[in-house]
């Protein structure tokens, strides 16, 4: 990677992370701190009785049901649950594999992953997880445009489109790279980008320029996406599994009401 690209990439990362961290602090950390403070049972005073409900920490079953299986969504609609599962797990696993890629190839290079077959497996995993995510997003787009009565406006589509383009540009960048580097050692491990590359390589376009543009776009979109997470609906990626695991482990609303009623007894 050239010095320019390198600098540009790191600038993007730093700026994006800056926004991301500020957002996480403002919208997640300080909120949860406030909740913990509100729920603090406090001094028992003269009555010798807690004035707040102590919610137990989420059990394994609850975490599994709420965060992994996401049962709540399935109760709403099986199709929605399926789409969302593809997106959720696609995204998480794509992110993990991408970090592994960066970790074992750039930061702490391990031969198996730099030039060994490990790299091929990583490549394959990247494409697989990316594809899962892409299919989920596409299904979501189709549903939202064609079926969802209330959710057809641009306002509702923009976040979905953002993420969709992140993944699409990712695949396209890799496909373009295969066009300009057709002898890449691990090209057989690619089952999405490589076939696309092969299908389009014949066209007489400025592949190098296109590749640079696509790479830049992908980088900007990713940076923008991550910066956006805590300030948009994407924040649910962090707070929803957490909040739901804690509150759905018992009838929280009823417990709190009974606590208040006890005080009036």
């Amino acid at each position: 990677m050239t010095m320019l690209k390198y600098t540009f990439l790191w600038m993007m990362i730093l700026v994006s992370m800056g926004f991301f961290l500020v957002g996480v602090y403002k919208n997640i950390v300080s909120k949860i701190a406030h909740i913990l403070w509100v729920n603090d049972p406090g001094p028992t005073g003269t009555t010798g009785r807690d004035t707040r409900v102590r919610l137990p920490f989420a059990s394994k079953e609850t975490i599994f049901r709420e965060a992994i299986v996401q049962k709540r969504i399935e109760n709403r609609s099986a199709f929605l649950w399926f789409r969302h599962l593809l997106i959720a797990f696609g995204f998480v696993s794509l992110f993990v594999v991408a970090q592994l890629y960066a970790l074992f190839i750039k930061v702490y290079p391990i031969e198996y992953f730099v030039i060994g077959t490990g790299r091929g497996y990583l490549k394959f995993s990247l494409e697989l997880t990316g594809l899962v995510l892409f299919v989920g997003l596409t299904l979501g787009l189709i549903h939202r445009i064609m079926y969802a009565e209330q959710e057809k406006t641009f306002v509702d589509l923009r976040l979905l489109l953002l993420l969709w383009f992140v993944v699409a540009t990712g695949f396209m960048t890799e496909a373009l790279r295969f066009i300009i580097e057709p002898h890449d050692a691990f090209i057989e491990y690619s089952f999405v980008a490589a076939p696309v590359a092969r299908a389009t390589a014949a066209f007489p376009w400025q592949w190098h320029t296109l590749h640079t543009i696509m790479w830049t776009t992908h980088a900007i979109l990713i940076a923008f996406f991550f910066a956006c997470i805590p300030f948009t609906k994407f924040v649910h990626i962090f707070v929803a599994p957490f909040g739901r695991s804690i509150t759905m482990g018992q009838d929280t609303s009823r417990l709190k009401r009974e606590k208040i009623a006890e005080g009036l007894l």
Binding site: N27, I28, K31, I32, H34, I35, V38, N39, R52, L55, R72, I73, N75, R76, P230, K233, V235, H236, V239, A240, F242, G243, R244, I246, T247, M248, T252, S253, R254, L255, K256, R257, E258, K259, I260, A261, E262, L264, L265
Partner: protein
């Protein structure tokens, strides 16, 4: 900003749940899970038993914990009425508001968003809320918080005036 709220008289509540149903009927399909709930607790052993019935929806708190807890700022407090409402188009259903609320007011709807009492927002101020107008014993009263505070004091003074050997002073309230 004026602050409206609910006054609840536990001595009048008979735990009949009419308020729960009035809220359901008034809000129709906007409501998928009960916003107002009556809790009945008893304590003691036969025949020395005490109990209480408490009807609770949302307290429309001044410094609402749910509003401060929401990562999407989907919960807002009305300038004119002080009513706290959830904007379902912003809500992501993370349930942090329920975790924060000491009264358990926000609840998960079947649509994946949170819902709760919105103080009968379609009704202009000055007329009764649905739960209030239906309560057979008029245990629920809504109004401006300052006025409700005075109403409450007057109630207590009223009741004490009927007690023989009264002369109980309203202590620290000093009014």
């Amino acid at each position: 900003m004026s602050q409206y709220g609910f006054y609840f008289d536990k001595e009048k509540c008979v735990g009949c749940r009419a308020c729960e149903v009035a809220c359901q009927v008034w809000n129709g399909s906007n409501q998928t899970v009960k916003w107002r709930n009556v809790t009945t607790l008893t304590r003691g052993q036969f025949p020395e038993i005490t109990g209480v019935n408490v009807s609770m929806a949302c307290m429309h708190c001044g410094d609402a914990p749910c509003k401060k807890a929401c990562p999407r700022q989907a919960i807002s407090k009305s300038e004119e009425t002080g009513a706290v409402t959830v904007d379902q188009s912003k809500c992501v259903g993370c349930m942090l508001c329920l975790w924060a609320c000491p009264f358990g007011a926000p609840k998960m709807s079947t649509k994946g968003r949170m819902e709760k009492c919105n103080f009968c927002q379609e009704r202009p101020m000055g007329i009764k809320r649905a739960c209030e107008e239906i309560c057979p014993t008029q245990a629920i009263v809504s109004g401006l918080i300052d006025e409700l505070a005075n109403f409450s004091k007057k109630n207590v003074a009223d009741r004490l005036s009927y007690t023989e050997g009264g002369g109980v002073v309203l202590g620290h309230e000093g009014t």
